[in-house]
């Protein structure tokens, strides 16, 4: 095992990535953040129900990783997937409508917040069973290889999933059969209230992946440029070496696990400490320093996003209810 692998990927001089690209990344993170802030409000107003797992603080991960994927690649995510769906190209309107349980939602109102799906963008959702998406990702990649399609199956999961047997079986299969899977572990240090170090005997996840002979890297998940580069390297490795890759993104969840969570398991100040590294704020500041962004433009950007959010809420509000007669529709394809 090389210790190199384990160190955070140093961010190279990134002038290569042009201004537009950087503003685009900032914009995407802001879209997630503002959409979810609104979702939070709507939940307190009981417009959205069930569970609602927010991504605040983790935006750089979805944005940095997915930017490296091609349209034909597919994404398998978890119940904390609003951001992934959004940056993948699922419209904010259809996501909001889904959270409202409207027929216009991306899952027709049947899935809700935890089960966003979108065939057009190869967004395979949206599983609310921890680690349950990993075997699926392995299978999708299996099909790509057999069909000689140069695609990648990108699978997002939390560090809590690492403890599940399905993680073990999936990594072994992906490595054994040399399948194009990008395993993205969003390590936000907690699985609900369980601290990572109390759940894992081996907390060095790149070492863990090495136990399956899978290459891996750990990256600062609060730094979108770092994630962008690390994920870029990962995707190139997969496409060239035709093997799976494991990417650990160290990040943090600002809010409750879902909506009801007394947060007895961590201190307010730990949360505050992490907020100082906020992926949006730090990146915006950086762009300002690099004189790629003015406070004005930043405000404007935020306003544009606010308008998009507003429009999506209106769309959801005006959405229709799936007729009750269709309750059993889609239990089987022929119904």
């Amino acid at each position: 095992m090389t210790t190199k692998k384990k160190t955070t990927t140093p961010v190279k001089n990134t002038t290569s990535v042009d201004k537009q690209k950087k503003l685009y990344l900032l914009h995407q993170m802001m879209r997630i953040r503002q959409m979810e802030e609104e979702a939070y409000e709507l939940y307190t107003q009981e417009k959205i129900r069930g569970f609602l797992h927010l991504y605040d603080g983790e935006e750089a991960v979805a944005v940095g990783v997915i930017e490296n994927l091609k349209e034909e690649d597919s994404i398998i995510a978890t119940y904390r997937e609003h951001g992934h769906a959004l940056v993948r190209g699922v419209s904010m309107k259809s996501i909001m409508a889904e959270m409202y349980g409207k027929a216009e939602g991306c899952s027709g109102g049947r899935g809700g917040s935890m089960h966003l799906y979108d065939k057009k963008t190869n967004f395979l959702g949206g599983s609310a069973i921890v680690a349950n998406g990993l075997p699926m990702a392995v299978g999708v990649a299996f099909a790509y290889k057999r069909l000689k399609e140069e695609k990648v199956a990108c699978c997002f999961f939390g560090e809590g999933a690492v403890d599940e047997g399905e993680f073990h079986e999936s990594l072994n299969l992906a490595s054994l059969w040399e399948l194009p899977v990008l395993f993205v572990c969003e390590n936000n240090l907690y699985s609900m209230g369980m601290p990572f170090q109390l759940a894992e005997a081996e907390t060095d996840l790149v070492e863990k992946a090495d136990g399956y002979k899978i290459e891996g890297t750990t990256v600062d998940g609060m730094d979108v440029m770092a994630v962008l580069e690390a994920a870029g390297n990962a995707v190139n490795y997969i496409r060239e070496q035709k093997k799976p890759y494991f990417l650990e993104c160290q990040t943090y969840r600002y809010r409750a696990h879902s909506m009801f969570d007394p947060e007895r398991y961590r201190s307010k100040q730990e949360v505050e400490e992490w907020k100082k590294r906020d992926p949006i704020k730090t990146f915006a500041d950086k762009l300002k320093q690099e004189e790629l962004l003015t406070e004005e433009e930043f405000k404007k950007l935020s306003e544009n996003v606010a308008e998009e959010v507003e429009a999506s809420v209106q769309f959801a509000e005006e959405g229709t209810k799936e007729p009750v007669e269709n309750l059993t529709r889609y239990v089987y394809s022929d119904q």
Binding site: G160, E164, G165, A199, L327
Partner: protein, 332 residues
């Protein structure tokens, strides 16, 4: 806490008290599961217990359903009295091997040498817009497995008393707590803790029809029976309490009295426990029945998120009333 306060509590508090009580009574008892400690339990059932009993007895586990359920089974064999909490029945599918291939059959395979005194608690049920992966009612499905005992506390007294009986049982016991009941408030009868885990209980007497139900269905059935009473129909409501083994005696004696039976079960209809109860009643009382046994069950769909769809998929007082009123000769 003073006595009065102790007697009125929520279903959640009743279960918490039951766990605390068991932990105090027996050093061998411990609680193990995901987030039972620091988090206080995903339904806040074990709030405060980590502080009260410490990390040795309130054990937060990694996300490893098969691993920690099997660990509970092994600990039981090693002389402990584990209470394993699986957050919801949906996740228990990941522990199915340990529950069915080990706990349920070890006593038999070993010719009576190794009994497995483990108690496995899990939340069950829908109705909270949690969608297809978080809303199943599979307690009746587990009741198909020989070697398991299946408990479904629906009242405060059962929430408070069943756990201890389960811990005293030498064999594996699964306790299904309907998550919509955690906030339900009720009063504990002085003799509350006396209930067994063998019998069904008549929760309301009636002469016209027997409503056979359990869990959340009990509350919907009691509500329906009040409405029916306004129309002069007196329903007897039987709380099954235990889905395996079923208490035939109590079920049959109620149906013999009323001549009619309706089963209310939020679980899916086809191949559900409702079919077993209907069949047993018909096999035993075919010639006494005034009309066929009716079933009111959950629609056979993965739970949809949208509220109006999910509600349409579940039984409710109205649908119970409607069904009962259509039964043969009910007004006769």
């Amino acid at each position: 806490m003073n006595k009065v306060a102790k007697l009125t509590m929520t279903y959640r508090e009743a279960i918490r008290e039951a766990i605390r009580d068991a932990m105090q009574k027996d050093e061998r008892v411990f609680l193990m599961g995901e987030d039972v400690g620091r988090y206080g339990g995903c339904f806040n059932v074990s709030e405060g217990m980590l502080e009260e009993f410490g990390e040795e007895r309130i054990i937060d586990t990694p996300l490893s359903e098969s691993g920690f359920t099997g660990c509970g089974i092994g600990a039981a064999l090693g002389g402990m009295r584990p209470i394993v909490e699986i957050m919801t029945v949906n996740f228990s599918l990941l522990a199915a091997d340990q529950i069915i291939n080990t706990a349920a059959i070890l006593l038999y395979m070993s010719g009576g040498q190794f009994n497995v005194p483990v108690v496995i608690r899990m939340a069950t049920g829908g109705g909270k817009q949690l969608a297809a992966q978080h809303s199943r009612s599979l307690e009746g499905w587990y009741a198909h497995i020989p070697g398991l005992k299946i408990l479904t506390p629906a009242t405060i007294e059962d929430a408070r008393s069943m756990l201890w009986h389960a811990l005293e049982d030498p064999d594996p016991v699964l306790i299904f707590e309907n998550s919509t009941l955690y906030n339900y408030k009720g009063t504990l009868p002085e003799n509350g803790a006396a209930f067994d885990i063998r019998t069904a209980k008549v929760r309301r007497e009636g002469r016209d029809v027997s409503i056979l139900t359990y869990g959340i269905g009990l509350h919907k059935s009691l509500e329906a029976s009040e409405k029916l009473a306004e129309e002069g129909i007196e329903a007897e409501v039987v709380d099954l309490r235990v889905l395996r083994p079923l208490d035939n005696e109590t079920i049959f004696s109620s149906v013999v009295k009323t001549g009619r039976a309706v089963i209310v079960d939020e679980g899916w209809k086809s191949g559900g426990i409702s079919a077993e109860i209907s069949t047993r009643v018909t096999e035993e009382l075919f010639y006494e029945l005034d009309c066929p046994v009716e079933r009111i069950c959950g629609e056979e769909v993965p739970a949809p998120y949208a509220k109006h769809l999910e509600q349409a998929s579940l039984p409710n007082a109205q649908s119970i009333v409607k069904t009962v009123k259509k039964m043969g000769g009910i007004y006769g």
